[in-house]
């Protein structure tokens, strides 16, 4: 009975931490009292390696799990059903992998260490657009960032335990009929990659990570900002870029808490990127009692937005938010100004680009975009990356290249530390307690293994993008007082 009681106490402690305590880590073998006293664990890599280097297929490492007090850094007033304590809150405790994979020995016959890449690099047919695909320019930059990280690792000796090179196994992300799933199967079972990085399209990436889960492969996402990507509870999935949830929150805080606007309209692409991108903005506006005036959608590739803008103009908004690609965003902005609509124009991170500036011209002045990192940051690592990228590809690295470089660097680090074992590669990333210091800034992984770092605003001034933190602009944020879930209240009683 004692064993049962201890087990229940451990489960209870895990539950308590998941539901009500500040961000910290918790071991499933601690009692509730011990857990409440626990301070955030700082696991060093040697401890992690010691625990995960098991020989038995039945053994799972006894390592502290990350927990978060609040999912997605959601302020109290933006929680869904804010007046009602939910029965259960998800994504507050780090997922575990309990399978036998850690016991698989490192193979002897490998000549290169293969890492998969899935991204839109060759034009295909897109389900989202019903025509030509549209994300190749982003995918190619992502591939370049990944390549640079691989080449630099190889220049330093490759996989150091065996002195063999890393090899990037590149697959095109074809959006037609779920082809991305087939590509991941090929990488897992034929190419025999050790981990995969990709992709950009939210639907394709969802398909891909389900395959990675079954095949037990670490997946690093550096370009899909769809909030639901990480909301799948897959213990093999990581993300190193701030998502649309957080970018919506900073726009909400800017629009409502700082500028005190009341009348906001949205125009978005009709694909998954637009549909899921604005979701938190829509919900957050409603929860702050300032519901969006109207939400208009357009087909990717459209050039005429009269219908949508006419409807928006009728609502007399103070600001218009666009969620879609840079090209359409700039065309919409130009059309707005041509119609005499001089409202504040805000947009998603894809619009904070050179393409947007080129198409929008002078109209771009004053445009505000959410952005997942701060390229203006003074950091020798970032400068070195820019220099190397320019020398290698003759172009400036943009956000997809930078995040791909970080994501691939994280995978390479994990492989160097863990060795050639898919489960252990996952472990060293999942149990990493320190933020990854990347060229895009610090990347602290949350309990959901998502990028918990800060997001920014990009503002166009004199034809250039300038990046600002909340602090720079004095953007207020909602409180995090938080309400326990009903399940926890019952547990405590």
């Amino acid at each position: 009975m004692k064993a049962i009681r201890i087990g229940l106490a451990a489960a209870c402690s895990l539950w308590l931490c998941a539901q009500g305590l500040p961000d910290e880590t918790v071991s499933s073998k601690k009692t509730a009292k011990e857990t409440e006293k626990a301070s955030p664990a700082k696991l060093d890599i040697h401890t992690v390696l010691k625990k995960i280097n098991v020989k038995s297929p039945y053994e799972a490492p006894d390592l502290p799990l990350k927990t978060n007090r609040v999912y997605g850094q959601t302020p109290d007033d933006l929680h869904p059903f804010g007046g009602v304590a939910p029965y259960k809150r998800h994504f507050l405790v780090q997922m575990e992998y309990t399978g036998p994979g850690r016991a698989f020995p490192e193979p002897e016959d490998v000549k290169t260490v293969k890492i998969g890449f899935l991204g839109p690099i060759v034009p295909t047919v897109s389900v989202a657009t019903g025509g030509k695909s549209h994300e190749e320019n982003l995918g190619v930059m992502m591939l370049r960032g990944a390549k640079l990280a691989i080449e630099q690792a190889n220049a330093k000796g490759g996989y150091l335990k065996r002195h063999i090179p890393f090899e990037l196994v590149v697959h095109n992300d074809n959006a037609l009929w779920g082809a991305s799933g087939n590509e991941v199967v090929r990488m897992a079972y034929e190419d025999k990659v050790w981990a995969i990085m990709g992709s950009i399209d939210g639907a394709n990436t969802h398909i891909a990570i389900r395959v990675a889960l079954k095949a037990e492969l670490t997946w690093m996402n550096c370009g899909d900002t769809d909030p639901t990507f990480i909301e799948t509870n897959i213990p093999w999935v990581f993300r190193c870029i701030g998502d649309d949830r957080k970018m919506c929150y900073i726009l909400i805080d800017y629009l409502y808490r700082k500028l005190d606007l009341h009348r906001v309209a949205v125009i978005r692409s009709s694909n998954r990127y637009g549909r899921f991108g604005v979701r938190e903005l829509r919900d957050g506006s409603r929860r702050l009692a300032r519901p969006l005036l109207v939400e208009m959608a357009y087909q990717v590739g459209d050039t005429n937005f009269d219908l949508q803008l006419e409807r928006i103009q009728e609502t007399n908004p103070e600001a218009v938010v666009h969620w879609g690609d840079a090209r359409e965003g700039a065309l919409i902005l130009n059309a707005m100004r041509a119609r005499g609509m001089n409202q504040l124009f805000l947009a998603c991170d894809r619009c904070a680009s050179d393409e947007f500036l080129k198409i929008a011209g002078k109209n771009a002045e004053g445009v505000v975009c959410a952005y997942p990192w701060n390229p203006d940051r003074k950091d020798p690592k970032l400068e070195a990356f820019r220099k190397a990228f320019r020398e290698r590809f003759g172009a400036e690295p943009e956000t997809y290249a930078a995040h791909a470089y970080d994501g691939m660097s994280m995978l390479i680090w994990a492989i160097q530390e863990a060795g050639l074992n898919r489960a252990k590669i996952r472990d060293v990333l999942a149990y990493r307690s320190e933020p990854w210091h990347g060229v895009t800034g610090d990347i602290p992984l949350t309990a959901a293994l998502d990028d918990g770092g800060e997001v920014y605003l990009a503002i166009c001034k004199q034809g250039k993008w300038h990046y600002y933190s909340r602090k720079d602009l004095g953007i207020p944020q909602g409180s995090f007082k938080w309400v326990r879930s009903l399940a926890l209240q019952r547990t405590v009683k």
């Binding site: 998800h90 087939n182 399940a487």
Partner: protein, 396 residues
């Protein structure tokens, strides 16, 4: 070669163990022992048989298991196997033997023809009939995608749950129908599980809950999480606990559903949600579910096997193995209250459980580290008073 038996532990021994557990020191003193006696106890499997590569399996990562009379079909990460219960031997098919793709992720058998339908993980669909594999894939058929997670035979039709929609193949008329967001209420098209029973096809769809297809009327009905939010479950019993569904099983007009966030049961009018913290589920991460009756379902999780043995009394049996010691226990629970801990010997091949199928009183269970068979002897469904006499006084 015959699989290995765990430590023999018959129901007589179990009765003694349960008696000791229920009436002895392991019973929580806070709850009157007589109440437990009145409710009775469920059947606990104490005899287990295990199968690995040494016994003839092509691979120990078991994705699918299907009982077919004297045969048990086993889908693994590297080949198809068939266990003959009469001889105790496996027959194996790999790609060199004509199997179209190495990873077999789903299996169903056509009761009319005996054809075995194989869903393959990235390899499409295959019919194994008379020793021949017929291969259906995206480029030669109406299969919507080659990543097949589930397969179910419905009359003359074969349903395939794929990563980009569902396909239905009419085997008599050689006609395919594709179901996606275009012609079915799929918010997302990422199908994960499929089952057929009693005129209804159920699709478990990742991100879109459960879809019900009425074969007679051709109409769809969708079941989603009513709160519409990914990060919470607002009310436990208001619908599916989460839209990321992983398994569906329909039996005796009861729908059992699993997700990576918990599980639930639907009787056509009421939902009941199950979370690890409040019942005998070993984990909220549920890979698969198989209902045995309206009151019994087996949940395959990443931390063991949870059996809801008796729905009306919320009685569970949670099987957890200690593979290193070839040992294991079953925890009999009413809700969160552990009423008995039964030593079963080596039970599950691994706690990472992926699939299950029933074979009369027995059950075949696929894990990520081998296949096992729970051998039932004299099963009585639900909870019954298995202990007639006190063997030890309960401490007061």
């Amino acid at each position: 070669m015959r699989g290995r038996y765990s430590k023999p532990f018959g129901q007589a021994a179990l009765a003694a163990a349960l008696a000791a557990a229920v009436w002895g020191g392991e019973a929580p003193a806070s709850r009157p022992a007589r109440a437990k006696e009145a409710l009775g106890l469920p059947y606990v499997y104490t005899k287990w048989e295990h199968f690995t590569k040494k016994d003839g399996l092509p691979n120990e990562h078991i994705f699918a298991v299907k009982v077919d009379g004297p045969r048990v079909w086993v889908g693994t990460e590297d080949g198809l196997a068939c266990y003959d219960k009469r001889t105790g031997k496996f027959r194996v098919w790999k790609e060199k033997d004509g199997l179209p793709w190495r990873v077999v992720s789903a299996i169903d058998v056509d009761p009319k023809t005996g054809d075995v339908w194989l869903g393959m993980f990235g390899g499409g669909l295959a019919r194994f009939s008379a020793g021949r594999f017929d291969h259906y894939h995206q480029l030669n058929s109406g299969l919507v995608n080659d990543v097949v997670y589930g397969v179910a035979v419905e009359h003359d039709n074969v349903w395939a749950a794929t990563t980009a929609g569902a396909s239905r193949y009419d085997t008599v008329r050689d006609k395919w129908t594709i179901f996606t967001e275009k012609n079915a209420p799929m918010e997302e098209i990422w199908n994960y599980g499929v089952c057929y029973n009693d005129g209804l096809v159920y699709l478990g769809i990742w991100g879109s809950g459960v879809l019900e297809y009425n074969v007679a009327t051709g109409r769809w009905k969708d079941y989603v999480d009513p709160d519409g939010e990914m990060e919470i479950d607002l009310y436990r019993d208001d619908g599916i606990v989460h839209v990321i569904t992983t398994g569906v099983s329909y039996v005796d007009k009861i729908l059992w559903v699993t997700t990576y966030f918990g599980a639930c049961r639907y009787d056509g009018r009421h939902w009941r949600g199950y979370y690890q913290h409040e019942c005998g589920l070993p984990s909220d991460f549920n890979n698969f579910v198989k209902g045995r009756s309206a009151n019994e379902a087996w949940f395959c999780t990443d931390k063991g096997l949870g059996v809801l043995a008796d729905f009306p009394t919320d009685t569970w049996v949670k099987y957890v193995t200690d593979g290193d010691r070839h040992d294991g226990y079953a925890f009999v629970q009413r809700g969160t209250n552990v009423v008995a801990k039964v030593h079963t010997g080596f039970n599950l091949s691994h706690n990472y459980v992926l699939c299950v199928d029933f074979d009369g009183d027995d059950a075949w269970i696929g894990t990520s580290e081998g296949l096992c068979r729970a051998i039932g002897e004299g099963i009585t469904p639900g909870c019954v008073r298995r202990v007639k006499k006190r063997t030890q006084a309960a401490p007061e």
